[in-house]
């Protein structure tokens, strides 16, 4: 059972290795000659003021929220796509139309967000 996933784990292992290698190779092989100026925070040539953890705008929240909602939509499409051929031969058009109804209702939401300017960065 789990043996089927060995290729996935191999890819995962390579991904982790690659990520670690790119980050740490520059750390290991790059020359390091620190001076006081280099180590200080750079803020357009001016001395830094205040905390770096300023509050970001609520607009980011909106983007993330819409991302979650559309992500969930995709999650429902996966099982449909996987089972489609089998279920379609068994039940016919119902399988197709049910997904279309779902998507249409959903795209109304997308249209709504678009028209109301949710994607505009004003």
């Amino acid at each position: 059972m789990i043996e089927n996933y060995i290729p996935v784990f191999v890819v995962l292992g390579f991904a982790i290795l690659f990520a670690l290698a790119t980050v740490f190779s520059s750390e290991i092989f790059g020359p390091k000659r620190p001076t006081k100026e280099k180590l200080s925070t750079y803020e357009s040539g001016v001395k830094p003021i205040g905390s770096a953890n300023e509050r970001v705008s609520i607009k980011y929240y909106l983007v993330a929220m819409l991302f979650i909602i559309f992500d969930l939509e995709v999650i429902f499409v996966y099982p449909w796509a996987v089972t489609f051929t089998k279920l379609f031969s068994e039940f016919g058009m119902v399988i197709f139309t049910s997904m279309m109804v779902f998507l249409v209702v959903f795209e109304i939401g997308y249209l709504y967000a678009y028209k109301k300017g949710a994607f505009k960065w004003d």
Partner: protein, 496 residues
């Protein structure tokens, strides 16, 4: 297996289908029409849609045939009882839309009218689905739909910090309550192997599988339902949310969403724990789960805490919030009887509660419109400034107390009769004592309206449709207090 049954039976969900279409239509109109036309069109479409759904529901009111075959029976139940609750909810929602059209709080957020009405319809859709739900997954999805939209609606007056506070508190409480409920459902699924509410009867009735886990599951699911109907001890969100929300939304939370929640409670008890009905209408329950005691405790707690907390409130909305907890306590005490007559008395009570509570809230909406505050002081002298409103609100409050000759008396009369039939004397005494306590704080509002002088001598006038709405509620409250046979007969017919 064929999916043909799906199409044969989907037409049974009459009102849900109409509301779903109207919901999407409202979103579309809001998007496509110009700002001005949308502002006028959206409330009208919602209103017409809800009325159409109610009429369409009535055309097949007594229909149950065809559902015993495979199909929606699995996870949705359509029967006269659920149709009655759906009718109540549609009736309440119709007037909530009407109130919104006359509420200054809602008019002030006109740039978000499309969203307001579409969310109102989405809530309605969720409540209708909740009433029919006979499967924990449908139940959870519909409760989430109702809750999600209610959080946003409670916070729809964005410039008012109290409204935002109400929204956040509601969200935090609601999320944890529905999370606990989902946890209970998942344990139950692990035990039973099916998400159908009816199927869990087989598990619970098996005496060899009786264990503490069953009580944990039962309690967890009760948390979710108790939060929806705001019975003590799951009521802590109620006062703050009711106070902060726009008054119209407070009315919605206190009537329609409670009716939906109560139907879920009835379904849960009847499907899972009722063994049989004896010839004289009493329910034989699974003895080991002690629902009679649980309901008695919940009822006494809800009645007493609701009423005694209402005594000290300065805001009328907050007072009505606590009084609605007390009213849920009254209905729970009828539930404790666990008999057909107890269930019937709940159905009667809900109808009368709708009339008097919606009426009381619309009167409060008007007073808030005029004076800009819902504190009890702002009711000073209202009886002379707006005589019709004063008289109507007095009728509603007297009815909420349960004094004759109003509809509220008839509702309480039937509950007391059901309790006496089962010889539940102590509960009846607590019930009656609580009604006496309630008299004090309801009449206090009347005292402020008629016996206290206001500081200013401003004159307020209500428009003709506004007065019409008041009459539409106050006249039936009195009439049904005297002549109630048709309503009682109609409700009895839903339980056959």
């Amino acid at each position: 297996m064929s999916l043909q049954y799906f199409f044969d039976n989907i037409a049974m969900l009459r009102s849900e289908l109409v509301i779903a279409v109207v919901f999407t239509a409202v979103v579309f109109v809001d998007l496509l029409a110009s700002k001005k036309t949308a502002l006028k069109l959206v409330p009208v479409i919602s209103l017409v849609g809800i009325i159409a759904a109610a009429i369409y529901l009535l055309t097949g009111f007594y229909q149950t045939a065809g559902l015993d075959s495979v199909g929606l029976k699995d996870y949705l139940t359509v029967e006269p009882l659920t149709n009655y609750f759906k009718l109540l909810i549609l009736f309440g929602s119709t007037f909530i839309v009407v109130f919104s059209m006359y509420s200054d709080e809602i008019q002030a957020i006109s740039e978000r009218h499309g969203e307001y009405y579409s969310l109102l319809l989405a809530t309605l859709f969720g409540m209708l689905l909740m009433v029919s739900a006979n499967d924990y997954i449908v139940l959870y999805i519909s409760i989430e739909l109702v809750s999600l939209t209610s959080y946003v609606l409670a916070g729809s007056m964005k410039t008012d910090p109290k409204s935002s506070e109400a929204s956040l508190k509601y969200l935090l409480y609601g999320a944890s309550a529905s999370g606990i409920m989902l946890f209970g459902i998942s344990i139950l699924y692990g035990l039973v192997g099916s998400t159908s509410i009816s199927d869990s009867y087989t598990y619970f009735s098996d005496i060899t599988k009786f264990s503490i886990t069953n009580f944990v599951v039962m309690f967890f699911i009760l948390v979710g339902i108790g939060y929806k109907i705001s019975s003590v001890p799951f009521h802590f969100w109620t006062p703050d949310v009711y106070e902060g929300s726009p008054t119209v939304i407070t009315a919605m939370l206190s009537v329609t969403s409670k009716a939906a929640g109560f139907m879920v409670l009835i379904r849960f008890i009847v499907e899972v724990f009722r063994v049989d009905v004896t010839s004289n209408g009493f329910w034989t329950m699974l003895e080991q789960y002690r629902w009679e005691q649980i309901f008695t405790v919940l009822a006494i707690a809800s009645m007493s805490i609701g009423n005694f907390a209402a005594l000290r409130q300065k805001s009328v909305k907050r007072m009505l919030a606590y009084s609605s907890i007390a009213h849920i306590g009254y209905m729970l005490s009828a539930m404790a009887v666990l008999s057909d007559s107890g269930l019937l008395s709940i159905l009667y009570y809900f109808f009368f509660y709708y009339l008097m509570n919606l009426g009381a809230f619309v009167a409060v909406v008007y007073v808030v419109n005029k004076t800009g505050s819902d504190s009890i002081e702002s009711f000073n002298g209202i009886g002379y400034k707006m005589p019709l409103l004063g008289v109507a609100l007095t009728i509603f409050l007297v009815s909420l107390t349960g004094l004759p000759p109003t509809a509220g008396f008839i509702g309480k009369f039937y509950i007391v009769m059901a309790m006496l039939e089962a010889k539940m004397i102590p509960l009846t005494i607590v019930f009656l004592l609580n009604s006496v306590v309630a008299l004090y704080y309801y009449i206090r509002v009347v005292r402020h309206m008629f016996l206290m002088r206001s500081d200013d001598s401003k004159k307020y006038t209500l428009t003709v449709p506004e007065n019409g709405i008041l009459l539409l509620f106050s006249v039936p409250v009195v009439i049904f207090g005297i002549y109630f046979t048709p309503i009682v007969e109609f409700i009895k017919s839903t339980l056959k």
